[in-house]
């Protein structure tokens, strides 16, 4: 069998190299297609040999993603993709491990594994396809469904308060947190590209339309005619300016955000310069919590900081033990402790 190759780029991969032979089985019009296409486009640029990519998923429409990628892939069980990925990374830290999950898979049944994977800073990239509904099981409320939403399981409206995935990831201290929109293909590609380069737990929420069970759920902010006034594209080191004519800005007033014309007089508030690299998560939190209709919504990278990853630390302890004690001798190990000899 061929041996594990180093993480060097294979000479000339193209998008085509990442398309598997499996027929894509999402509903026509599903937002998942766009993510797949962009992923297949950016991977050749990442500088990792194809055989070193692994796509792991749980269960859901989104979780069929690995079948369509001509890489190693593992379609696991509902909610457990992050846990499976953690094991993969521990066994072989060389691999570039991606987890594809849905709002139900990743935040309902899989919420705890998500939390712990992020806080451990396991070097996996998590793509959460948020369509605010259970797609595969045909339309129940998900943990990101809006309060009051009518679904098959909530015929007179959901009585729960939705989770904000970005805030969740920031609280969990993920070292990379971003949000993008499946229909904004260029933006999405750039966010995926940055996630690919990040070392550590990367979390990307993708607004994804389920045209069958929750059509138009993000239209309020993503529709062609409103998006420039309702989406703020975060850029590191730049103020939060947006709007069709870059005429609007987000300002901080004490601890609250205010939105108004760029040239409005400052009444105690000030323009914020986005800082992805802040070790303090407060700004990221505030930006993540901006939700329509109270605020425009932010897309882009909320946070990108470098900390030692779980797998680095794990292997580090092993290296340390081995350099301190030498690579263990099994004979010595077995014969250690209080032994005696019978002749």
């Amino acid at each position: 069998m061929a041996t594990i190759s180093e993480t060097t780029p294979a000479p000339s991969l193209t998008r085509q190299d990442f398309i598997s032979d499996q027929e894509v089985r999402w509903c026509p019009g599903c937002g998942d297609y766009a993510v797949l296409a962009q992923m297949q486009k950016i991977l050749p640029q990442v500088g990792v040999a194809r055989e070193n990519f692994v796509f792991v998923s749980g269960i859901g429409c989104s979780s069929r993603f690995p079948y369509y990628m001509n890489t190693y892939g593992f379609h696991s069980i509902h909610g457990r993709g992050t846990a499976v990925a953690t094991g993969i990374k521990c066994a072989n830290p060389n691999l570039s491990v991606w987890v594809v999950t849905g709002d139900g898979d990743g935040l309902s049944i899989g919420g705890n594994h998500m939390l712990h994977t992020l806080r451990r800073n396991v070097d996996v990239k998590v793509l959460l396809f948020n369509n605010r509904i259970y797609g595969l099981t045909k339309g129940q409320a998900s943990p990101t469904s809006e309060h009051g939403k009518h679904t098959k399981s909530t015929p007179v409206g959901s009585i729960e308060n939705p989770i904000n995935p970005v805030s969740f990831a920031i609280s969990a201290e993920a070292t990379f947190v971003a949000r993008t929109v499946a229909t904004e293909t260029k933006h999405m590609a750039s966010v995926l590209r940055r996630a690919a380069d990040h070392r550590g737990a990367a979390f990307v929420e993708i607004y994804q339309n389920c045209n069958i069970f929750n059509d138009g759920t993000f239209e309020d902010v993503t529709a062609r005619d409103v998006k420039s006034d309702r989406l703020v594209v975060l850029e590191h080191g730049k103020p939060l300016v947006f709007g069709k004519n870059s005429n609007l800005a987000v300002r901080l007033h004490n601890l609250h955000m205010e939105v108004g014309p760029l040239d409005a007089p400052s009444n105690g508030s000030h323009l914020i310069v986005h800082d992805e690299r802040a070790s303090d998560p407060t700004l990221a939190h505030i930006l993540g919590n901006m939700r329509w209709p109270d605020y425009p919504e932010c897309i882009g990278v909320f946070r990108d900081v470098r900390k030692p990853t779980y797998d680095e630390l794990l292997l580090g302890q092993i290296d340390q033990a081995q350099s301190a004690k030498g690579a263990g001798s099994l004979q010595d190990l077995i014969h250690s402790g209080d032994t005696w000899t019978i002749e």
């Binding site: 041996t3 055989e51 094991g87 521990c90 705890n112 077995i334 005696w340």
Partner: protein, 621 residues
């Protein structure tokens, strides 16, 4: 103390002795026990030990729930259990007496620290009057010693606080017992000196206590005689005393080395399995990667991931945790990835009695997953057998590409026995052959003999493929909803497990190869069963015994063996789980259960009693 023979000196030779040390959790009981064990092992006795911890972490001093104990049985003959009933009970306080007296053999010796038998204490233990004095113990030989006082006097000059002085009183008691059973104190002296090298004043005090205790017993005439147990006739070699937990951990490390892979152990703490995690976490220099997961589900899923990525991947737990892992084990069945799930059984259902032993999870190991979801199942039969079976578990899992459940239990993992150390050169390598040619590679292609699919891990160019929990097409492994393919795959997965039977040893029968009664146990009941049957055979009873360590599949000769006996007695620490499986698989034989569900292992006497009952009531005719 079976079979005492008078000799001319005040030393009596006996062939087997069982001693139990008991006291408060803080009394150093476990330490005394392990030191006594080491001294005994060095003398060449065969032995077996078992600690018993209180369910509470540290119940208030002097209370019944706070009592901790340690039992050792040693003999000049091969020994398989820590003994049914102690011959000697060493109690450091009234609570220890209260809790343990019921187990003491009639006429047994009680060594008691008399200083603790003051009203405040014996009342806390539920005695109305001092049991050492009120005549209630007249069926026993009571040796009350003012241990606290004698010890304090011996250390009057030591540069220690009263509390520190008191803490060494267990060494005084140990010294007394060393004299009583004619053991040398040297091994303990060495140990103390090494252990407390940074605090020589403590080391010195402990040694003084030990020797004073010894000499006190020697010179005063509190004991009318003392005892000697001759060397056992043990196979020459290097030995150590090993608990089931240690043996499990070593077996796993050894197996990973023999397979030339890193060892991944993903686990969530749970009594009595946690100690495996603690052990393995110490072996980082062996490339052991331990992962304390957020729960049992994450533990098994990470283990599946680690296996997928090429590690020897193990997860360990106890009953409630195995229940939680059920769904994910099904994923390992469908993806045909090798993982070992160690289940250290404890008394259930639910939280049950977490510190107590049981064999209640066999049926779950067989059937505790949805759908037709077969896994391989092994069970270790003694503390040191955990080493062998852990290695076997890894070997079978990776060579047959299957999840495998290894059953041990609380009794096994905490118990200890001398283990003849294997020479690493003698252990055979675990070969994994799975050349895969990108041209012909089939993720669900199969080895024609074992039916194992190839273990191709990410990182191999040209072999990129996808696996998952949906039904797989034969060969290609792509998702398939084809009805006949499903039926074939269900059959193949079952057959793959069945074929492991060709790769495991046949079942060995002790005693005659056919006859009236076969006592068939599985796992940790080995010691009690073999002891009882050997005893009865020496007494001329025609009874054979065999112990299953390979449970799924069963050894290929099992059916044949069963059919050669008129009655198969199946002792189990449950309501009859193995018996039911045998009845379904091998109908036409006569099975009888011997079932005990008390959170405690079988006593030799219980197996004997059942056999005697069978013989007497003549059910055999």
């Amino acid at each position: 103390m079976a079979d005492t023979k008078e000799v001319t000196t005040p030393i009596k030779e006996v062939d087997r002795v069982t001693i139990r040390f008991a006291g408060d959790s803080g009394d150093g009981i476990q330490l005394s026990g392990s030191q006594f064990t080491l001294a005994t092992a060095r003398l060449g006795n065969d032995l077996s030990t078992l600690p018993d911890f209180p369910a509470e972490i540290r119940a208030p001093a002097g209370t019944l729930p706070g009592v901790s104990s340690f039992q050792i049985s040693f003999s000049e003959n091969p020994i398989f259990t820590p003994g049914d009933q102690p011959d000697v009970l060493v109690v450091m306080n009234p609570a220890a007496l209260k809790v343990n007296l019921k187990d003491l053999t009639d006429g047994g010796i009680i060594v008691a620290n008399a200083n603790t038998f003051v009203p405040a204490n014996f009342k806390k233990a539920g005695y109305d009057s001092n049991p050492l004095e009120d005549g209630s113990l007249k069926a026993y030989r009571v040796i009350p010693l003012p241990i606290t006082e004698l010890n304090a006097r011996a250390l009057a000059d030591a540069p220690l606080t009263k509390k520190e002085i008191d803490r060494s009183k267990n060494f005084f008691a140990l010294g007394v017992v060393y004299w009583l059973f004619d053991r040398p104190v040297e091994s303990t002296v060495e140990w103390v000196q090494d252990k407390f090298k940074r605090r020589p004043e403590i080391a010195k005090a402990n040694v003084t206590s030990l020797k004073t205790g010894y000499n006190y017993a020697l010179t005063t005439e509190v004991f009318t005689s003392h005892y000697r147990v001759r060397k056992a006739d043990m196979e020459p070699g290097e030995y150590r005393n090993i608990t089931g937990t240690e043996a499990t951990a070593l077996g796993l490390v050894a197996a990973a080395r023999l397979a030339d892979k890193p060892l991944f152990y993903g686990s969530y703490p749970i009594t009595p399995a946690s100690d495996i995690l603690h052990e393995l976490a110490k072996f980082k220099q062996f490339d052991v990667r331990t992962f304390q997961a957020e729960d049992e589900i994450a533990a098994v899923c990470a283990t599946i991931g680690a296996s997928y990525a090429g590690a020897v991947a193990i997860t360990g737990t106890s009953g409630p945790g195995l229940a939680l892992k059920a769904e994910a084990i099904g994923l390992a069945v469908m993806t045909e990835l090798p993982i070992v799930i160690i289940n250290v059984q404890r008394a259930g259902p639910s939280t049950g009695m977490p510190t107590k032993t049981e064999q209640g999870d066999l049926a779950m190991a067989f059937n505790g997953r949805h759908g037709e979801s077969p896994v391989a199942i092994l069970a270790a039969s003694s503390p040191s057998d955990c080493f062998t079976m852990a290695m076997e578990a890894v070997r079978i899992a990776v060579q047959h590409m299957t999840p495998l459940i290894l059953l041990t239990d609380g009794y096994l993992v905490n118990g200890a026995e001398p283990w003849r150390l294997p020479d690493v050169e003698e252990l055979s390598r675990i070969r994994i052959t799975q050349d895969a040619d990108p041209e012909t590679f089939q993720p669900y292609g199969r080895d024609p003999e074992t039916l194992a699919r190839p273990w191709v891990t990410p990182g191999h160019p040209g072999l990129e493929h996808r696996i998952g929990g949906l039904e797989k097409a034969e060969g290609s492994g792509v998702v398939s909803h084809d009805p006949l393919n499903h039926e074939r795959m269900v059959g193949l997965r079952a057959e793959k497990i069945a074929r492991i039977a060709h790769d495991i040893p046949e079942l060995e029968v002790e005693g005659e190869r056919s006859g009236d009664i076969l006592v068939l146990g599985w796992g940790s009941t080995y010691g009690a069963i073999i002891s009882a049957c050997r005893q009865m055979r020496t007494e001329g009873v025609r009874v054979s015994n065999a112990q299953l360590r390979y449970l799924n599949p069963f050894p290929r000769n099992l059916g044949n063996i069963l059919s050669r006996f008129k009655l198969v007695l199946v002792p189990e620490l449950n309501l009859g789980q193995l018996r039911d499986i045998l009845a379904a698989r091998y109908p036409g034989n006569r099975y009888m259960g011997l079932n005990k569900v008390q959170g405690q292992p079988f006593k030799i006497g219980e197996i004997r009693a059942k056999l005697e009952e069978i013989l007497e009531t003549g059910v055999m005719v």
